[in-house]
Amino acid sequence: MRKKFLKLIKAGLSLAMLVNIAFAQSAGETTFKNTCAACHTVGMGKLIGPDLANVDKRQSEAWLIKFIKSSQSVIKSGDKYADSIFKAFNQVTMPDQASLTDAQIKEVLEYIKSKSPAVTASSSTSTESTSETTSATTSNGDASRGRDLFVGKLRFSNNGPTCNSCHNVDMEGVISGGALAKDLTQAYSRLGEEGVKGVISGLPFPQMKQSYEKSPIMEQEIADIVAFLKETDKQASAKSTASVGSTMLIGGIIGVIVLLVLFSIFWIKRKSRTVNYSIYERQIKST
């Protein structure tokens, strides 16, 4: 009786462990797909960030955890390897994943390890790894539609904010965009087609996530924008259209002058002296 019971417990425990392992793996996978996949692949070439295949052979686990949590602090600490990667990938800051626990990161690393091609540890840094995947898909986007979407003449079907709220593109006939986020004139050559698509659909940057999480951009719209960015990249005119700032400044100053004149005219009948001016006057004279 007792033996049977023990057996049962043993079986249950091992089952639980198995489930646990299976679950852990899938947890790593989901975390990877949700947070990493927009910029990284495992063995499929580089996107915005490096290919992560065999990343565990390049750096220690502790280093990776530190880097994933705050890449900039590792770079600033003078780590040469981190700095070289940062420079090789166009100095795009990897968002800090401070909300991930060590355990979660370990799960992700475990998942990457399991997906990594076993022998093909071809290069120490995957910088050289070819980006053939980028040319694999030919875009079917319409650049002029993409331009209207970017500027806002056409609204996104889910009513997300227009790209030029935060991003600028230097191109003739296109109103200067925002200056909060990165200039996207050269985004296409910086990130490649897959990279641009990845950022728009995967939303790896918190600000992008906040803006588009609840109003996602449709696939066709993404293709259009990519086509537009491809065009701006090609044209990449030397002349910059960054004169909007001065328009604003000049417009502001002229506007203020107009406003002050309007105030003066509107309240022309105001008492220009203090209410009790005549009282003071009278008292001074009468003494």
Binding site: G152, P161, Q210, M248, V256, F263, E281
Partner: protein, 242 residues
Amino acid sequence: MNVLDNFFLIALPYIALAVFLVGSIYRYTYKGFQLSSLSSQFLEGRRLFYGSVPFHWGVLFLFTGHLIALLFPRGVLAWNSQPVRLMILEITAFIFGISMLIGLVNLLIRRYTTPRLKTVTNRMDLVIYILLITQTFVGLWIAYNFRWGSSWFSSLLTPYLYSIFTLQPDTAAVVLLPWTVKLHIILAFTIVGLIPFSRLIHFLVPPINYIWRPYQQVKWYWDRRKVRSPRTPWTLQRPKNN
């Protein structure tokens, strides 16, 4: 950095809002008839006009603008979807921002160069002046350097402020904004927190009904001009003010 961000972007807003609520109610209940800005028009009127009017119109326009972006973010984004309308909104807001700054600087100079005003000026007034001037300048700086604020306010800051008001603070996106934008947020909440302790309390009790209340009729029973003139000797009546 993380601790600082959490303090300034999560703790400070709650502290400020709590202090504002409790403090204002306390001041209203126990220190009645004090909810004013202590007008000094009686002491100096000429410079006041070019300080107070540009400042108040500026702050009213901008406060309403921020409020609209908070309440109707989708409406603002829809408005901004036409580049021309976006430019109109941004430049108008910029104009009122400059107007506010000019007004504030004028008021500050007036207050500290008019001897009469010294007696009705306290230290908190100076603190408020400095905070408001800094805040306005930072706001203009942001509008100029990190364009189109009206759009990204609606898509980034509105969700952050909602998350504060619904007690589920989410600062993931705000933390990564430029430090000037963070400073603008921090100063805004600091000013909110100081409302009960300063002249700013008067914004809670604006005399809005002045706009539609009937005119007060003042009737005189003597020749005012004659009575007022210092040259008129006293005949029937002693001179009266106004």
